[in-house]
Symmetry: C2
Subunit: 331 residues, 2 copies
């Protein structure tokens, strides 16, 4: 096994976020479930966009945000995701490459439009997401550079991309390539509805021993295990994977690896603006620590630092100098 | 003369802003003149975009920002500007309509791509703008709804749009329609380089008595008059137009109408983030006051309030509730 030339390769939906302010009454009018992510088709995307206030567009997508966070922390990160050959696709490619991420999949003109996520941010900083996947769900196994996957210390992928069959097959091929190369595979459950749709598939990935590092938040942990009691759920799921990381919003995060357990508090923040990307950036910080060989506590601390930065402004990618914020932790 | 159904109709370049952070070294490397706006062609737009960091896209354009500010203040505003039938054009149309502005020109598919402005924001909150005009400079006189122009109390247009001949003719037709209907015509000099390019044309507009309200900042005033002394320039230009408004950044603003003169200080702010749109929103506030029949001082105060809001966040359109900030001033 040679030394990998990438620290982390991320696979996920390549999505441009369209962010706008909204109040609870608007969510109620539209029948939207606050804080959740739902998938919508193009017609609904056009309709809802027409009802929304003025927006700002920033590149996003869960695993893409994580890749951007890793690069901002100084790690060597790659990203695999499908965009269309259109203006939003060019914006997406520009942003992730300008962040220093190796973007591995060429744009295609036969896959509809680039994906976008209509994000409604309420005054309590909660985000309600409406995702039109478009081109993102057309990622093909043939377009995944398996040699590059095998050359990354960690492969990270998102549960969100498990929905359509074509990218699911692409991810399964990537998982196999990573494992055959002796690399680690990390996975995030992404969202409670995502867990509801794919609990059996996710459980199978775990049972087959194909996941080394599993990320979940409290709600996803409960949805995955069926246990409402946090400790029961944590202990139960931790017994099934080498390393389990659970984020708890303002209550911090915990990691369990066999008999070892560590926890950190959330980092203090000045002002909560938009929680979009909090989990994605937490994963970036944690994986950065793992890729550098740090322990659980230091990795959790890096996750908390990266998450704290991203929730203090609109948009799910870092704006401040994450490397400086990480200080001595990454040496 | 019937009561107009619009308070202000704005004509200008329909531009999507692409905003990114940059430092002085990057500006120097790229040979960019800090704080200025320059026009670039599509090849340079692609090249510079490739060098820039990750961006966020928000709708912009000087007169478009003013229209958005007017609507945010509760005024009835319209906007005339050309976008292409592409993703950025749809974003532009959505944002200005969602702000409550009547958007009067249909997208076209035979005009290249929608305009974009690559804006580099330095840590001192100065913005350096690189504008690819694309579709915006293809506005035709035939597409200007002159009946709607005649039905607006104030026509407002930007010096920026004076560059290409086609939209210049469109604006001249609009000016004539407004004047024939007994409406007021307001104009902003936009930018010192814009003044350098078109001083004679702007002077002719003034000499012909086609401008009722003229907006300039200190540098544009100096460029227009050739007087480095502020008072000399102000007095000289004020003698040529019914109402002259000059903004002075942190030093506030002054308005002169014949023998009457008023001045306001800048509004206090918590944090200067990005000065993009300061002049545009100042114009929105001032014109809102004028449209409601307020005096010079109250109009200036509204301008200062709107400008102060927009410089405390990224992007050139209001995010806070401008109507609430204006308080009793607009009744």
């Amino acid at each position: 096994m040679t030394n990998p030339s990438l620290d982390v390769l991320c696979i996920g939906n390549a999505i441009v976020d369209v962010i706008t302010d909204a109040n609870d009454a608007f969510l109620a009018d539209q029948g939207l479930d606050k804080g959740a992510m739902r998938l919508i088709d193009e017609a609904e995307a056009v309709r809802l966009y027409g009802e929304m206030g003025p927006g700002r567009e920033v590149s996003g997508g869960s695993a893409g945000n994580t890749a951007a966070g890793l690069a901002a922390l100084g790690l060597r990160a790659g990203f695999i995701g499908q965009v269309a050959d259109d203006q939003l696709g060019r914006i997406y490619a520009h942003d992730i490459e300008a962040q220093g991420v190796e973007f591995l999949v060429p744009a295609r003109s036969d896959v509809g439009a680039t994906a976008r996520c209509l994000i409604l941010v309420t005054p309590d900083a909660q985000r309600t997401m409406n995702t039109f996947l478009g081109a993102a769900q057309r990622l093909r196994a043939a377009d995944v550079d398996l040699a590059r996957v095998a050359d990354a210390a960690i492969l990270y992928f998102e549960g969100y991309l498990w929905d359509p069959a074509e990218p699911r097959a692409a991810m399964e091929a990537a998982i196999d390539a990573a494992r055959n190369a002796g690399r680690k595979v990390a996975f995030t459950l992404s969202d409670t509805f995502c867990v509801e749709r794919h609990r059996d598939g996710f459980q199978q990935l775990i049972d087959e021993g194909r996941i080394d590092i599993l990320f979940a938040n409290e709600a996803e942990l409960a949805a995955m295990t069926g246990d409402e009691d946090f400790e029961v759920g944590l202990t139960g799921l931790a017994a099934q994977v080498p390393l389990l990381v659970v984020t708890r919003s303002a209550a911090g995060a915990v990691a369990v690896a066999g008999d070892e357990r560590a926890a950190v508090a959330a980092e203090p923040i000045e002002r909560l603006v938009d929680t979009t990307g909090a989990g994605d950036l937490f994963a970036a910080g944690f994986l950065a620590g793992q890729a550098r060989g740090l322990g659980l506590e230091a990795s959790l601390k890096l996750g908390a630092i990266a998450a704290a930065e991203v929730i203090q402004h609109y948009g799910a990618r870092p704006e401040a100098d994450l490397k400086a914020l990480a200080g001595d932790l990454l040496g």
